[in-house]
């Protein structure tokens, strides 16, 4: 089977890889580029653990082919922190214990960062619906929602 050559940008760095046409962007990130922050919880777009942004748009990387990454700019959870400093969302998730096992956390952080960039002042209901595609089985979402709301408030104050 012939492989496809893809050039792309991941977390600001240029990246190149060869992939099978059937391999998803998630397969490529995890198995070819050793970026294992995005998780496969379902492989069918139902859990959101593999969330990344492609050209700024939030998607499930399990529902994007590796080949489709050609010429795109991709951000994963590994690209959220800046240098030594964690993103305010990351800080707040730790402080609020907005994670228990942590498997859904990378996807939820990528998704909430995308939300706050689009809507800096979301209501609780807006946060809950935005995150409806990110399953968390541990927390009952309570502390996640509080962490997001509080980060949004902090960011609004800071800006």
């Amino acid at each position: 089977m012939s492989m496809i050559h893809v050039s792309t940008t991941i977390n600001g760095d240029e990246a190149e890889f060869l992939c099978d046409p059937r391999e998803t962007l998630l397969d490529v990130l995890r198995d070819k580029l050793a970026l294992t922050g995005a998780k496969e919880g379902c492989g069918t777009g139902d859990c959101g653990a593999c969330s990344v942004t492609v050209d700024g748009r939030l998607v499930c990387s399990c529902l994007v082919l590796g080949a489709e990454a050609q010429g795109k700019s991709i951000t994963t959870v590994e690209g959220i922190a800046e240098g030594e400093s964690l993103h305010p969302l990351q800080e707040k998730f730790i402080e609020y214990a907005a994670l228990q096992c942590g498997i859904c956390t990378p996807g939820i952080l990528v998704a909430t960062k995308a939300l706050l960039e689009k809507n800096p002042d979301p209501t609780e209901t807006e946060v809950r619906y935005w995150l409806a595609g990110n399953l968390c089985r541990c927390t009952g979402y309570d502390k996640i929602i509080r962490a997001v709301m509080d980060t949004a408030a902090d960011l609004r104050k800071a800006s």
């Binding site: 046409p21 059937r22 777009g45 529902l63 082919l65 409806a132 595609g133």
Partner: protein
């Protein structure tokens, strides 16, 4: 599986027409890639249409709208004027899947997947949306209601691809609405879906289209339901007649998502509720 990413629909059609084995077009991929991963269906040839010029267009045309084949649900929702004119259609699209799925899923894909439970399809039926199709034998334009023919099946010929959808001119005193029933608040496939598109003359309904999803092998346009409310001001009698006509049109199955009895009943409930929303929207816009 081969992957192609042609730069024109002409090339896309050429690849599809000459392909050995099965072909799928890839736009948002939210159905195609699920079927691939779940080993339900792996095409021999996959043709990505997203690098073709114009597929991301949302443009006003002939008083209505042209929606490119690769426009995502999120892009539709972000177009304030489209959402103002066709709130039911835009909401129907927006109900599909998660925020992540909205970043990819397309109207055309939702239509071509051929599911009777597709959320945007009843809304398109009710809005009388038409499709531009190109194929080995040239171009044609057909009503969207002509495209689904059964679960997973469409009337498209081998090598044919939908290049864009046309939403008609909205006109005055008109609005649409779409409701679906799911057990959760998000992330489910519709157990029943209902779209209502109305035009009023004063307080009286002068035009109506009512469409139901997930209650038959394909999405239904229910003329009896429309007739039940045309000429009325959506009083209780009209709503009862609408619900009865909607329920009567159902020919559903028992499956993991719902029973025949449940779907038939809820179709009537949703028809009432969706009609009221559409009706109130028209009145609020005055």
């Amino acid at each position: 599986m081969q992957y192609h990413s042609p730069a024109s629909f002409e090339d896309a059609v050429g690849i599809a027409a000459s392909a050995d084995g099965t072909t799928r077009f890839l736009a948002g991929g939210t159905d195609v890639l699920v079927q691939l991963r779940a080993d339900v269906f792996t095409p021999d040839v996959l043709i990505d249409v997203k690098n073709i010029e114009g597929v991301k267009d949302i443009v006003c045309e002939d008083g209505g709208w042209r929606i490119g084949a690769a426009v995502s649900g999120a892009e539709m929702s972000e177009n304030a004027e489209l959402a103002r004119q066709w709130p039911g259609l835009v909401e129907a699209m927006d109900l599909i899947g998660s925020t992540q799925v909205q970043g990819r899923a397309t109207l055309v894909g939702n239509l071509c997947n051929g599911s009777p439970a597709a959320d945007s399809v009843p809304a398109m039926f009710a809005a009388d949306v038409s499709a531009n199709i190109t194929g080995p034998n040239g171009e044609r334009r057909v009503a969207v209601s002509e495209i689904p023919v059964g679960p997973g099946k469409t009337s498209l010929e081998k090598g044919e691809v939908i290049t864009a959808l046309h939403i008609p001119q909205r006109g005055d005193n008109a609005a649409d609405a779409y409701l679906r029933f799911i057990p959760r608040t998000e992330m489910d496939i519709a157990v029943v879906g209902c779209a209502v598109n109305l035009r009023l003359d004063g307080d009286t309904i002068s035009e109506a289209r009512v469409s139901l999803g997930a209650v038959a092998p394909k999405v239904l346009l229910v003329d009896e339901a429309a007739q039940a409310i045309i000429g009325t001001s959506l009083d209780e009698n009209a709503l009862n007649a609408l619900a009865a006509a909607a329920s009567a049109a159902c020919n559903p199955i028992n499956d993991k998502r719902g029973t025949i009895k449940f779907r038939t009943h809820v179709a009537g409930v949703l028809a009432r509720r969706a009609a009221k929303i559409a009706y109130d929207r028209v009145r609020a816009s005055k």
